[in-house]
């Protein structure tokens, strides 16, 4: 009986604990008042955020380096998380600049959007962004989502495009970041656009995805098209014939209230960024394990930006 009473007390106590933090709907929101006080619209350093993958970290370092070269106080905050997380950080002003991708942004704010032309997508992004956010010039550099398989799998099932997966996907395992499962351009999109439905899904992140594909625990993987692991492991990237993943030009997403300060420096970066340059730098950071900051500094100085 005594044990029963203590169990009830425990449950009651945990419920009380929940009520205590029940005042706010969003854990991130609680930190925003202090965040905006220290880095508000009236000056303060620019924080360049980065998502939880190496290219985003690299781009954040490039943006921050270019800003610093122009005498703007800038720091980086890499590895914030997935888009669902970091867009909130921008909106609550914990970060002011973020390297983004045109198509992904358009899809995020307009779930029904189907445009694929680079310029059209870029224009659409400007229309659907919240009032507090804007994008600067887009670069020609593009990094798209892609579905890749090993050379053996591609040969075995004669795979060239994602559409070829339709007949065999039921026997295959797909590995991708957890958020791929719910995104319109993720598993639902594969099913809707290509009729491709994988037998099972293994949610992993970062290098875990590459390892699982390489070691055979997964048959197909969602990897970025600029990822050096594709070439390093001889993976085959399946063609996105239906343009499910759209156009994904790299673009600086910035807060409107800080846009004027950072515009010149970041547009100069976008003018110099190319897909090849990104792929080359990612090889240095991911395969040769160089410090992203050093790789970014090298890019800036060779292009006269640092």
């Amino acid at each position: 009986m005594k044990r029963m009473t203590s169990a009830v007390a425990l449950i009651a106590a945990s419920l009380l604990g929940l009520t205590a933090c029940g005042s706010s709907d969003d854990p991130l929101a609680s930190s925003s008042p202090t965040g905006s006080a220290s880095a508000g619209a009236s000056g303060g350093p620019i924080v360049v955020g980065g998502a939880n993958f190496s290219e985003s970290t690299l781009l954040a370092e490039i943006y921050a380096g270019a800003l610093k070269a122009k005498g703007i106080d800038a720091t980086t905050k890499p590895n914030i998380g997935s888009r669902e997380i970091y867009l909130r950080a921008l909106e609550d002003n914990s970060v002011q600049v973020f390297p983004e991708y045109t198509g992904a942004l358009a899809f995020n704010y307009d779930k029904a959007y189907t445009g694929t032309d680079p310029d059209e997508v870029y224009q659409h992004v400007q229309q659907v962004l919240p009032k507090t956010l804007t994008v600067l010039d887009k670069s020609t550099a593009e990094d798209n989502d892609s579905i890749v398989v090993t050379k053996e799998t591609a040969d075995k099932y004669k795979l060239k495009s994602i559409a070829d997966l339709k007949a065999v996907a039921g026997d295959l395992t797909l590995t991708a970041p957890p958020e791929f499962k719910g995104r319109p351009q993720g598993i639902p999109g594969l099913e809707k656009t290509y009729g491709v439905k994988f037998g099972s899904f293994r949610p992993l992140t970062g290098q875990g995805i590459v390892q699982a594909l390489k070691n055979g625990q997964a048959d197909a993987a969602n990897i970025f098209s600029t990822d050096p692991a594709i070439a390093a492991n001889g993976f085959v990237q399946l063609e996105d014939t239906e343009k499910l993943f759209g156009s994904q030009n790299i673009v600086p997403l910035v807060r409107v209230d800080r846009a004027d300060e950072v515009k010149a420096a970041l547009n100069a970066v976008s003018a110099k960024l190319t897909t090849e340059a990104i792929a080359g730098m990612l090889k240095e950071t991911d395969i040769d394990k160089k410090d992203p900051k050093a790789v970014a500094a090298e890019f800036l100085s060779t292009n006269g930006l640092g």
Partner: protein, 255 residues
Amino acid sequence: MINSIWAWFTDPVNWQGEDGIPHRTLQHLEYTAMAVLLAAVIAIPLGLWVGHTGRARWLVSLANSVRAVPTLGLLLAATLWLGAYIQSDLAFTLPSILVLGLLAIPPLLAGTYAGIEAVPPAARDAALGVGMTSGQVLRQVEVPNGLPLFMSGLRSAVLQVVATATVAAFVGLGGLGRFLIDGIALGDYPQTAGGAILVAVLAVVLDGVFALVQRGVVSPGLSGRRVGGRGKDSRSVSVEADRSSTDAPTPVAPA
């Protein structure tokens, strides 16, 4: 926040299919059961031997030092290492069970050993005195008398594993950890909180179940509960222990 968590719990979508709460809970219980079973196979015989012979007590301290191993770090390292050798999903399952099992060994070993060691020397001497063999002393005197401490070791092992089994989701497996990780990746905080609550509730419920099991397997003479006409005052340990061995022939089998 409370409202959105409640909405998550009451949404029928969250109770169906592979991602549903029942399936994830079942997976969580499977990982827990496998890990505790693995630990039991190692820790119980070892604990019985150490307790019975009084030899190699350092094994218990060694096992206790294992508690300091960072579970998540070990899991990721083991997955990375084993992944290159195993093609199937076992590359994720095996490291998870091993790492969780490692977590359950110290409390099980300590519980088994301490239970046996706490048996009053008088009871042991008496058993030897009436002509029992060493094996009979272990089975009929030491094990039944050691059950309360063994059961508390088992309960703390189960509790620790069930609370930690969320790490399996880090290497792409299921279980209740999926709600935590997917919830964070999607910025879906009600899902994260819901997963955390489920783990806590599951831990409390499991502990309750094992409390009942303990009540069932421990001799009434030891637990002090009233049996038949006999009251709490019957404290003659050796007599009770002897009696209980006939009541419960294989009391050591973990549930």
